[in-house]
Symmetry: none
Subunit: 291 residues, 2 copies
């Protein structure tokens, strides 16, 4: 496969930008976790894990992209006339994406359940989460098997069969998430409920992109242009579905924190306890309080 | 392009120094965030994100510079007579700067609005910020398109057209930031108002550098000397506009924190309000107030 200077560099620079986005948002999620009530704080740690895992995989993807193509033709300072051809000793490794999704997609679901859970977290929410996590593993494993059959190897039938099985899991996951978040919206306070609605839309639009890309070979979309479109599309979807999603989750958690009386640290809780008992003591005994 | 030993190494060492500055200031912004009131603290996190993202990009820029030139001629221990010529297999990647700006410039604006906001943050400030962030995307996207047309490719007319569109966004951003910070100076307490004035000047001088550099090819400034001047100039401007700017923002936030009674967490403030009312109750009852 031959890529033009521009095609190669769009993907190259997008991969690099994604590394920066993932690691920076991880630092942000950790740094701001103190603003979130302890009850929802684990969601911030999970957010950070997700983007750190994705950041690691984009480091590998970037490296693999760099090694898989070689500059050929008239090279020179910012030369627009140079092309990039496939290297003889390295093949671009698509499997990094599946490894990444296998780790991050279950965590995305966990995160969502943490911030949308009811005050009296029910058993059914927990079993819903377990079922969904198992479904993501089924979706990704069968999707990956199908992905290894490409138009080049003439395995489009097998790609279709495995892709269909994967899609069943996908449809189940999206439907279940959608309906669970919808019912959570009933008890979420005003703005948090609104943000949960945005999260549903984000899930639909970003996750919906993956099966569309999967279908490209059926539509005869192969070659350099489609390859560049697929890589860019997956990458933009990953930024939205991980860093953007994490930011929405953070805002939901922050709204619930404010709504439930702010972050109560150990020290503040102790001070509160003291002022309360002080008040009681003086009222009772009519004497000066300690402190 | 051929660079002298000195030319190559000025840029090389400046890039390396910048990596150190960016990561070190990021650690500083995080470490000192506890000295800032919770209301302004997110600005410290955003400062840290900006310099970490820039630090990452300077790591990449450094690496790209290293790979794009080869030592030729009389080499030897610290040889001043050697030259550096463009490598055959790697082109210096200017796009890292645009990827960096695309992420950091919107964050620089967010940061400024966090520390200059009024006590009763108005809706107009938020819409002002959103408009500015959209304008930065317009500025950078059109600027990048123009940047790809160089004197070498004979595309100076296209560079001029895209550069002009980008400049319209640029002028709007600088004007709007300038006037918004000016009106914030009215309610900022003494020293914080002074520091906000310094921030306006810093913005003007560092941001003003970028369009000037962009115009170099129109002035016939091409070749090694101009290339080295551009790289050094962008780098020094980045240090001032990110690490230096972050330090100013930190000082403004610190002044406001002191002025508003030091670091008080949400919960502590709530507890304080409660203990104060407790104090009143005891005062009514004829006893000493709490604390």
């Amino acid at each position: 496969m031959e890529l033009s200077f521009l095609q190669y560099n769009i993907v190259y620079n997008l991969f690099s930008l994604t590394i920066a986005v993932m690691f920076a948002s991880g630092v942000y999620f950790l740094a701001t976790s103190g603003r979130i009530a302890e009850r929802y704080r684990p969601a911030m740690y999970v957010s950070a894990l997700i983007v750190f895992v994705a950041g690691y995989h984009y480091l590998r993807i970037f490296q693999s992209w760099d090694a898989a193509f070689e500059l050929s033709g008239a090279a020179g300072e910012m030369s627009r006339s140079a092309n990039y051809t496939a290297a003889a000793d390295h093949v671009f490794n698509e499997a990094y994406r599946y490894a990444d999704w296998m780790l991050t997609v279950p965590l995305l679901i966990v995160e969502l359940y943490i911030v949308t859970k009811a005050r009296d977290a029910s058993k059914s929410a927990r079993s819903s989460m377990t079922a969904l996590i198992l479904a993501t593993i089924g979706m990704l494993a069968t999707g990956y098997i199908g992905e290894t059959y490409t138009a080049d190897t003439g395995g489009l039938t097998m790609r279709f069969v495995w892709g269909t099985i994967s899609s069943v899991f996908f449809a189940y996951i999206v439907f279940r998430l959608y309906s669970d978040v919808s019912s959570a919206q009933d008890y979420l306070p005003g703005k948090a409920s609104l943000l949960a609605g945005n999260t549903k839309l984000l899930l639909l639009f970003t996750w919906g992109f993956y099966p569309i890309v999967y279908c490209f070979p059926f539509l005869g979309l192969t070659g350099a242009t489609s390859f560049v479109a697929v890589q860019s599309g997956y990458t933009i979807a990953d930024i939205a579905a991980k860093a953007g999603y994490g930011l929405l989750i953070h805002h939901i958690a922050r709204e619930r924190t404010i709504h439930e009386g702010g972050v109560v640290s150990d020290a503040a809780a102790a001070a509160e306890g003291r002022s309360r008992s002080t008040g009681t003591a003086t009222a009772d005994g009519g004497t000066s309080p300690a402190t």
